[in-house]
Subunit: 349 residues, 2 copies
């Protein structure tokens, strides 16, 4: 695994904010796809309110008209109901808000390294299930159509919704495909034994710990036949929770799945990337599981930032020579690049 | 609402246990249906291990062969890892077990009041997603087929799975239709605007409180287009959480939905039954919501038992004269009967 020497390749200061009351805090967790000669990254752009002393300002979207409108709640920092939970969440009484609100934005490159950011958002919240923003796109190409799943966040928790496009200009909304609480959905790029297949990550906490599940669909819009596929704890690197990374990649040895593991090292949370292989004809069978992370937070841009010690992956571009470009995020803040071959990730058969 | 004077109508002592190591602790939360001249209740039979002094015995199912086999874990009560969480759950280290394990069993009556219990289970756990039992059946008749959804409980949390039958003898398993954590699923008895429709109850906790959601399906097996329909808090009786009751009933004024609300009264949890009407052509629209419970724990068999102050409903039989028979549970332990008309539940138009 070779981390690019010029990392990070995309930083928040490269992104014009979507509203003058907001500032960009993160350019992270992109879905990735090669579209003709262009590498497209569909970034999560996380924006926070410009804060004034003594005030906590929280962004949210309202849907009184057909368009979302940004509404900023201004609360006194001395209000006893207001509690800064961590860098990501604010409690107001017993209601939870997000400290940053996200939309999806395209970045484009002709060499896969140097990206130009679109001036306008690609996808903004469309209904109350997205009042706290849209996050973490993943792109799966099936035949000539691109399916984009993303996390819809609201006061009712987070679910996964789906878009369809052929050109990244005209986009169709297909509704929420996995109800809250569910994220980290990875759709396979073809039907297997007559069904579409996806990995998903319900918050199956209470009993057990957050695990990777697998489901089937006749049409990508409606899902069933859910099964728990992999639970946390196989290695120390994934002791606390796990979830899907990029959409699975077809290889001669099976479906290559890069997923994330969360572990507690001392007092700090670490997110790293792990790998497993699923049976090519029955992806509910795990045929190989790596024992060590393929990517671990070690560089300064991975260990110091908005949320320290996080590497996270939503998008991989497979180049023609068996090489993979991993567009991963560091510290929930910046986008980075790493390169490897499939042979680097899975053992020789 | 008339509670039957002979309540409860089914008690645990009427039920032969499924295994000699188990004793029946609850006969509760039945799905209900009229099949010819027979009223069928599909009970949740909750069984606990016969305990010996100084030992905590926990039931679970294993699936090493094609049949489930009961496995009883015997733990020392003085083991510091063993913690009796409440009447329903036992913690062993950080792993959670259930104190009782459930299967589904038929009860049959020719007058709707006096029930005979089948000697054998109707449905036993079939795979590891049911290792901690199967619970809380609901029955929806669509054309000539009965669809039975129930809660599948395991160390990976609880999801909702589906069965299909035409005669309650030959039964087909259709897989998990709502992944964990999700229960209280109520399937509508016909397609609406071309789709099957269900209410469901994800555990959307953290953000918000457990709410009633609505989803659509082309085939009852795969579900999508999820939306949050109703959140807790509309009345004091449903301040903590809500979830579906019996499958919706078609009326001239809209879809009649009886649901449960949980509230905290002083230091005690109360479960009662509430009512709402959904638009007949678009059930994602609530057109009426009751302000008072239609059923509330007040009789001694509703306030004293395995879990005090609980009334809970999964099954209603609509008799020909517009009268409803509610087969509800009290205290997560016994099955009771109440009778009312539709006019009793919803205001005159």
């Amino acid at each position: 695994m070779h981390k690019y020497h010029g990392n990070p390749i995309i930083t928040p200061d490269m992104i014009p904010p979507s509203d003058k009351r907001l500032m960009v805090k993160g350019a992270l967790n992109p879905g990735a796809v090669q579209l003709g000669k262009e590498t497209l990254l569909l970034l999560r752009v996380a924006e926070g309110c410009i804060q004034t002393p003594g005030t906590v300002s929280i962004p949210t979207y309202e849907f009184t008209s057909s368009q979302p409108s940004l509404r900023v709640l201004h609360l006194s920092r001395s209000d006893p109901r207001v509690q800064i939970k961590d860098s990501r969440a604010v409690l107001v009484g017993d209601k939870e808000y997000v400290s940053t609100i996200s939309h999806l934005r395209l970045a484009r490159s002709s060499n896969g390294i140097d990206f130009k950011i679109d001036a306008k958002p690609f996808w903004m919240p469309v209904n109350p299930s997205e009042e706290f923003g849209v996050e973490d796109a993943r792109i799966t190409k099936i035949d000539d159509t691109y399916f984009i799943n993303y996390t819809a966040v609201s006061g009712d928790s987070y679910g996964t919704s789906l878009l369809r496009t052929t050109d990244f200009k005209n986009v169709e909304y297909l509704g929420m495909i996995f109800s809250a609480p569910n994220k980290d959905v990875c759709i396979f790029p073809e039907k297997i034994s007559g069904s579409y297949v996806a990995l998903h990550r319900p918050f199956n906490h209470g009993f057990g710990k957050s695990s990777i599940w697998i489901a089937k669909s006749p049409d990508l819009i409606h899902w069933g036949q859910h099964q728990c596929l992999l639970r946390p704890g196989a290695t120390l690197w994934e002791s606390e929770k796990i979830g899907g990374g990029a959409p699975p990649i077809k290889t001669e040895r099976g479906w290559l799945v890069i997923y994330h593991g969360k572990s507690l090292q001392g007092r700090a949370d670490y997110y790293c990337l792990m790998v497993m292989l699923l049976d090519i004809n029955d992806p509910s069978k795990i045929i190989y599981q790596g024992e060590q992370p393929i990517l671990f937070p070690s560089a300064s841009y991975e260990t110091k930032g908005f949320v320290p010690n996080v590497v996270f992956l939503n998008g991989v571009v497979q180049t023609s020579d068996d090489s993979l470009l991993l567009y991963y995020s560091a510290c929930d803040e910046v986008t980075c690049l790493a390169q490897c071959t499939i042979d680097d990730l899975i053992p020789q058969s």
